[in-house]
């Protein structure tokens, strides 16, 4: 057990001394700086994106023609399951977390998040969750019951795969839950003087809604995953119809999480687009309050639509009607956002560098995905559409054409801020067009395939169904997407070699992060800005001469208050080992549940040591 009091210079041996590095590899391991953590999330998520994309290519290769045997049913089931798990939990969520972590403190004028070590812990736990789930390939079989893991199939499957699934997602869930609390407290409590809630950037608002969605939906899937785990590991009867259990309970609990989850996946990207469009239109976001309120509305209503994933389960016409109506209703606030984005572009001075292309692409693709979603809400239609490639088309349009495009827009837009260098715009445009064409070629035909009778999650399909042509087209499109990602990676590589000369505000933008240098210093701002309006940074550059008309502020005057006389030192939180230690403990605990109680006990001890060490060390020294 940890000892009671901890002198600042550590206890026995150098091992337990508080880390101090701020540069070099070790500094990344012990960092509690939200910016470094954001970069860690981003890089890790992108690596998983490549892995998940490879899984997608394998799927498309297998399905390019009927009755192929490239992937056996057993392997295919693992691949499509891992593709789903990877893209949802190991790509889009952490990539969004990358942006949220990096930008939120900067956008609200804070120096870091409320609990920096907890932030680091969230990252490490996420990384270990990903490693844990992927290690299953070598340890008895990868998850193979779909990312949605329906019981009883997931329970009855004889391999270890779905046990890895349950435990891995539990670990990831812990990471996301504590992160949600962290970011929510940060946004609510650590805003710069003058930044009322309605002077926050839309990205921050969307992030706030997402944290609440996470905090309230993750516990539900936590329970479901424990129930699955116990059914598999201990022979309980949660989903055992023979004993009086109900497989549909899993579906209810899963989708009570799963539906808010899709809003968790899209709202950050919507926030990003809401920042980018005004910058490249050079006018404010149209209908700021409406965009904010529609985001909040989507968050609330999002908890009331989950049965639309279950229309064919047999819950009866009353349930189907109720949820059909709630699903139809949620289209309204979504439409409001789209119209406000159009209004933002209307009569703007529009330019189309790569971030703007992706942002506009987001809007275009999301409209398609949203419209197919509306057709699903027509319940009897969904009796045909459900579990077919029509649904696959829908969610890829909103999650790839939507979330991924939005996140790419963010990458190009904030790259100069984070790395001090601009990505090459020509390569960016090439990548965009390749991705747009490839994406539509891949997923457009899937609408047709679904309506023509191709179910989901099938390892192959017979010749006589006439599905071969569009499947082939779809596969070609997938490789175009791969090419576009390659172009992006080339862009990243050549950009690294450029000198670090990006200005603080290369895009002439509107939010606080552009006030500080590119990249920002560790303490973010020399002086915490005082906020007088929405789009504070813009108003420091441009002054309103008459309503709606602005002119640049004359050079030398910023129109803000005089800088403070006198210095006070800025205390930043110190690096720490303990978040990593605690995460390792959880990882060992996870393996222990599968491989033996001794290992689990060891994990618990390491976890406790990590938590106690963390609790007893001061946050800053």
């Amino acid at each position: 057990m940890a000892s009671v009091s901890v002198p600042a210079d550590g206890r026995t041996g150098g091992l337990l001394r508080r880390p101090t590095a701020t540069t070099g590899l070790w500094s990344w391991v012990t960092t509690v700086d939200h910016k470094k953590i954001g970069v860690l999330y981003g890089v890790t998520a992108f690596l998983f994106f490549i892995v998940g994309g490879t899984e997608a290519l394998l799927i498309r290769l297998q399905l390019a023609q009927p009755e192929q045997g490239l992937l056996s049913p057993s392997v295919y089931n693992e691949i499509f399951t891992m593709h789903g798990i990877t893209m949802v939990f190991l790509v889009v969520m952490p990539l969004s977390a990358a942006f949220i972590n990096y930008l939120v403190p900067l956008m609200i004028g804070a120096r870091d998040v409320a609990f920096p070590r907890l932030n680091a812990f969230s990252y490490w736990a996420f990384l270990f969750a990903g490693i844990f789930i992927y290690s299953s390939w070598f340890l008895g079989g990868a998850p193979n019951g779909g990312w949605f893991g329906y019981a009883p199939n997931a329970v009855l499957d004889p391999t270890r795969g779905m046990t890895f699934y349950a435990i891995g997602l539990l670990i990831a869930g812990v990471a996301s839950t504590v992160s949600a609390i962290n970011i929510a407290v940060t946004i609510l409590n650590m805003r710069a003087p003058g930044m009322t809630l309605f002077r926050m950037p839309v990205f921050v608002w969307m992030s706030l809604v997402v944290q609440f969605l996470l905090a309230f939906s993750l516990p539900i899937i936590t329970v479901a995953l424990f129930q699955l785990l116990f059914d598999k590991r201990f022979g309980t009867h949660f989903f055992d119809s023979v004993a009086g259990g109900d497989p549909v309970l899993w579906q209810h609990l899963f989708w009570l999480f799963g539906h808010p989850e899709v809003y968790i996946l899209i709202l950050p990207a919507m926030g990003i687009v809401s920042e980018i469009l005004p910058t490249f239109a050079r006018k404010p976001l149209f209908g700021y309050q409406f965009v904010v309120f529609s985001g909040i509305a989507i968050g609330f209503i999002g908890f009331g639509v989950w049965v639309h994933h279950m229309y064919a389960v047999g819950l009866g016409p009353i349930a189907n009607t109720a949820f059909g109506i709630s699903t139809i209703i949620i289209a309204v606030p979504t439409g409001v956002k789209i119209f406000n984005w159009l209004g933002t572009m209307w009569k703007g001075d529009l330019t189309f560098p790569t971030p703007m292309l992706f942002a506009v692409g987001f809007v275009a693709m999301f409209v398609i995905g949203g419209l197919s979603g509306v057709t699903h809400s027509v319940v009897p239609s969904d009796y045909q559409q459900t579990d077919t490639y029509y649904i696959v088309a829908h969610f890829h349009y909103v999650l790839f054409g939507g979330a991924i495009f939005g996140l790419f827009a963010g990458l190009y837009y904030w790259w100069p801020k984070v790395f001090g260098r601009m990505l090459n715009d020509t390569l960016g445009k090439v990548s965009f067009w390749l991705m747009l064409i490839g994406f539509n070629l891949t997923f457009g035909p899937m609408h047709v395939l679904g309506l023509q009778g191709m179910p989901r999650r099938i390892q192959t399909y017979p010749e006589e169904l006439g599905l071969a042509f569009w499947n082939l087209v779809s596969t070609v499109g997938a490789f175009l997407i791969a090419l576009s990602v390659l172009v992006f990676l080339v862009n990243v590589a050549i950009t690294r070699r450029k000198p670090r000369v990006a200005q603080a505000d290369p895009w002439d933008a509107r939010t606080l992060e552009w006030l500080t240098s590119s990249p920002p210093p560790e303490h973010n701002f020399d002086e915490i800005p005082t906020v007088h309006a929405l789009d504070e940074a813009w108003h420091r550059k441009y002054v309103e001469t008459e309503p709606g008309r602005v002119v640049p502020v004359p050079a030398g005057g910023s129109g803000t208050e005089a800088p403070h006389a006198g210095e006070h030192s800025i205390h930043m939180p110190s690096p720490s080992y303990f978040p990593l230690v605690a995460s390792v403990g959880i990882l060992l605990l996870g393996y222990g549940i599968i491989f033996g109680w001794l290992l689990a006990a060891a994990g618990a001890v390491v976890l406790l040591a990590g938590v106690y060490g963390w609790a007893l060390e001061p946050s800053a020294e």
Partner: protein
Amino acid sequence: MRTRTRLILGLAALAVFASACVSDASQDTLKPEGPYAEQIYDLFVPVFWIAVAVFVVVEGLLLFIALRHRRRKGQPASIPPQIHGNNRLEIGWTILPALILAGVAVPTVTTIFDLAREPEGDVLEVNVLAHQWWWEFDYPQEGIVTANELHIPTGRPVYLTLCAVGLGYEDQPTPSVCQPGPPDGAPPAAIGDGVIHSFWVPELAGTQDVVPGQANTLALQADRPGRYSGQCKEFCGLSHAYMKFAVVAHTPEGYADWLANQQADAAMPEPGSLSATGMDVFLNGQCIACHAVQGLEDANGNPVAANGGPDLTHFASRECFAGCWLQTQDREELAAWLDDPAAIKAGSWMPDYGLTPEEIDALVAYLEGLT
């Protein structure tokens, strides 16, 4: 350049959708062949066109704005009027979509209830049992049990009760409404727990899931004679893709003929023929542990009535077997199946009994005789 590219993309998208209307796919949701599927189709089509209209308007606006307000080459950067919003527009574009959606909601709700209603009149009742990975059809009033092909008469509503059963995971019986027992009323063979499947024959009806412990129902009806393709839509394990079935609609007379044939006992082979040898292999091997053949008795005089596997009484009267993935008429496929089922269908619960080629030949002859 951008305009042209977008035009090409738009045309391509239209082509994609247009192709959906001119396919020869046989599991086509856009080719309803009965009143239930038609109701769904009649609801989908107008909603689809509304969606297309919205798509054209919104994407068109997006394109228009992007092109109209883009900074032209050589034009200096300017700061446009800083418009913050327009409340009237906000109300408008909240209310208008809500009205359109309300319009869509009304027929949606009525159709939900219509489709859920139990059909009246001269209804054919069939119990559908979903196994891993094949479909069993039990006609309680007619007293027959078949597999993989659901034969129905045209013009008559069919009311299906859907139950999931399994084999091999546990050996507890699934309490189920539609668990067929042997004709003499003896309790059914223990058939263990199952997984969720989904019954989908798009040209005749929408889907309904088949959930262990639940007895879901589905109504369908065929207007014209024909063979309608269907398959399991809910991921159900290794051979999910191989769990097809067909609904064969006959004229009422044709159906009566089919029924009479099915109700007859199994054809007995000529003594001394290869077929007879096959029957011996069938009776003395493990086959009767899972497969029923009406009219056949084992060595102890017990009827061969297990239903862990498909009822084989009139095996050769069907076109397909093994989850409708293989053809009964194809000798090679049949032999390959008997030799090693799991090689064709991953995870198949039918074991490889290590039959010799001679035994397989004999069995094939016997099965082909079960018309």
